[in-house]
Amino acid sequence: MSWWKFLFPKAASDAQINSELRFHIDELTEANIASGMTPEEARRRARLDFGGQEKFKEELRDIYRVQIVENTIANLKSAFRFIRKAPTFSITVILTLALAIGANSAVFSAIDAILLRPLPLPDAGQLVRLEQFNPKVASPNTFVSPARLEDWNRLNSTFQAISGYYTEDESETSGALPEKITRALVAPRFLRVWGISPALGRDFTPEEQRFGGPTGVMISDRLWRHRFNAAPDAIGKKLRFGTSSGTVIAVLPASFFFPNRDVDLWSSVPVDAPYAQARTSTWYTVIGRLKPVVTLDQARANLATVQVQLGRQFPETDADLAVGMQPLKEITVAGSRKSLWILFGSVSLLLLIACTNIVALLLARRTQRQHEISVRFSLGARRGAIVAQLLTETFVLALLGSLLGLIVADAASSVFRSLARDLPRVEEIHLDARIVLYSLACSVIVTVLCGLLPAFRGTRRDLSSSLAQVSRTQVSTRNPFQWLLVGVQVALAVTLLAGAGLLLRSFQALARVSPGFETAHILTFHISGSWGETADMKGLTQRIDRTIDSLRSMSGVEAAATSATLPGVPGRYQTELKFSEGQIDPTRKIVAESRFVSPGYFATLRIPLLSGDLCQTHLGSLDILVNRSFADAYLAGSPVLGRHLEVLNDNFVRPGEIRGIVADAREEGLHRAPGPTVYWCLSAPLPDPYYLVRTRTEPAAMAETIRQEVHQIEPSRSVFDIMPLEDHLSEAFSENRLRTVLLSFFAATALSLACVGLYGTLSYSVNIRQREVGLRLALGARRGQILKQFLLQGLAVCFAGCVAGWGLATIFARLLSGVLYGVSSSDIPTLSAVVLLVLVVAAFASLFPAIRASRVDPMQVLRDE
């Protein structure tokens, strides 16, 4: 008995078999007694008559043993024999599947890591981001003041804890050269909210969270390895950064990437610090951890009540405020959801095309195997058994394909990681058991999709019984089903190509956009600075102005400026404003993009001044420039210059006077038409604004010179993120590029698969119609006619596929509409070009089989006959 027989429970239990047999022996014994034997003799004879019980009990059990295992093993053996016997066919199928399943698994691994899995923190579903905002005023500022954060934490009943943070870039000065280091300054309960504990060391003590107490810092695993060589005695060492220093109290786990992956240092902000008391100084990004059974809605209601209570207590600062709340994961990944699902949709279409292709291959293959199948039928095989065998073959192919696909997926996900560095959570993408399972699931689906139909069609009895004669006398097979498959492939390929085409066209349109400023020859960088410096705005402004001046005086530098944000990189800061002189139209809100730039910004970016003057820096009042859209939208027909503007609900920006009008520029992103924009002339809107330097030569070549220059004037500050503006712009659209590159790749693969399908089907059709063609040639048909006939047959199917594909493409393009730029989702030229391309390629794919058909030698064919 083989080991695997134990694997399956017996249908009829041994006990039942035993009692059935015992009954028989008992009856025999009684019959023997009745014929005059002694009871002992009677039983002995009965046993003897009955024969070897054990032997046939085993036989009985065998009947019930599920035969799946045996059959499966037989089927597997035959599948492998089949693969060995048809290597070209098998390799084609396996490679096609490896590509399709591999690409699919790769995209799925990204979706799984980014969208499906919870954030890599304990009970991450409980984490939410909290914001304060004034529902009446449009303002992008949703940071929370430290005092309010403490109130929320104290008064709510739905959170385990609420904490917050802000980050700044500083220079770490323990080493020879200052190095940029990103520090997170955190509110109390920070680690508790994230639900982690340090890998080494301890959390902040109450003393360390008190104003004037010792400064403890927690460092990242990366900094620990880099600076301390991962030595355990790093705890207790001093670390100097910016103008302060602290004692290392903990190393956080390597997997901890919060608030972002750049942070190397965490230090606490004392709750009782004098500068943290004003309810109007808002700086925290707030994260809360919900209590286990609390829903988001309950928490929202709870905090709304808390805020109403605070509004009564502090009517001046809190009465108008509301609390916003979003799951943290949602905020982290929402931006990439659409791109990822688009990619997944495309790659699934690709898999579908691959399956269709394989169905066609299998069908053609079955036809060749019909003899084998009919032999098996005539030997008494049941149809189910043959279907099972054929399905096993497909499954083995699919399985091999998906195993190979895993290798493809592994390679593809590293490409993915490098193409899309800016995707959130991209470092979490990797192959693991879930992806392996997914690939296996793919292979099962493929088996069902590809295998079922050919298996059932190939085993139709009417077909198989008539087989023996078919191969010789058949004149022509139309095999409409195979042509349908070709049409489906073409339609799907057209869909993907149309999607790729539209994305390419948007990409082109984006590159052709005139941004309104000159992007070339601009080098951008940061110089470290800490928020503490904002206590002395005058000093900070002087420092930054001094730096700008010395940059400008460098040889090779044409102009220099600072800006809070980079022009053309997507990002908006929409604020609500009012004219100090009174509203022109009181019913209309004035909402405009606010940009904070130094006076040299316009010269540096070459944004032309249309009227008035460029702004000057002078302490006291603030100068403002507005763009033409702003003047047209809000001040049409009335004098612009000399008006005063102030930001509603913001006590950071002072009112300013409009000094001039500049031309429109695509500040908020190259893909966005310029809207009303207000430029506030502040060189130091924040301690480390972007520095923009217009160079005479290649900007990247100036990087080192500039670094040295800054080191001379600011020896304790670090210069970092040195990069040409053009690189920033191209990086800002990297997700766009990723989408376009991948979709184009999928579309090209789809087209090649469809061509292979077309070529294969037409060749097959030529093969089986050779006799017919030979006969016709012998009867005087011209070769050109034959050629035309086959060519048209291929093209007709493709044309039908294109028409169907056009329909599908319009649906698919509607999904894309949100990510298209400068091209409508039903763009006729793109779709026509795609159809033309497909028809041309299809013509080539059909040409070769058609030529072969026209070269059939009638004599040869007739002789074979």
Binding site: H24, K55, I63, Y64
Partner: protein, 111 residues
């Protein structure tokens, strides 16, 4: 001389079992008795082939089995014919009759 299993074609035994069971629910011992009695001791079925055949037929769905009490009050497994089995029996019977008729006529012609 009794004909034993080896001489009895597999399909024939199945047919005989179906035929006996068609007369009414019966246990394995009863079947072996009746085959012997009806064939006037010519056919003798070994238990070693009877029970596997019964279980095979049951598994194919031609026979249905049920535990019940025998005439002497013992627990026994009774077999009866299913609808599917009845059909099978009919086709086997007609096949057999055709075959037997053909063989007989050959034998008679050859004489």
């Amino acid at each position: 001389m009794p004909i034993e299993k080896s001489d009895l074609l597999q399909g024939t035994l199945d047919m005989l079992i179906l035929k006996i069971v068609a007369l009414g629910p019966v246990h394995g011992y009863g079947i072996s008795l009746r085959i012997r009695q009806i064939s006037r001791e010519v056919l003798q079925v070994q238990q070693g082939s009877l029970y596997p055949a019964l279980h095979r037929l049951e598994k194919r769905g031609w026979l249905a089995a049920e535990w019940g009490e025998s005439e002497k009050g013992r627990q026994a497994k009774f077999y009866k014919l299913s609808a599917k089995g009845r059909k099978q029996l009919e086709s086997e019977e007609s096949n057999w009759n055709r075959l037997a008729g053909a063989v007989t006529s050959i034998l008679q012609t050859a004489q």
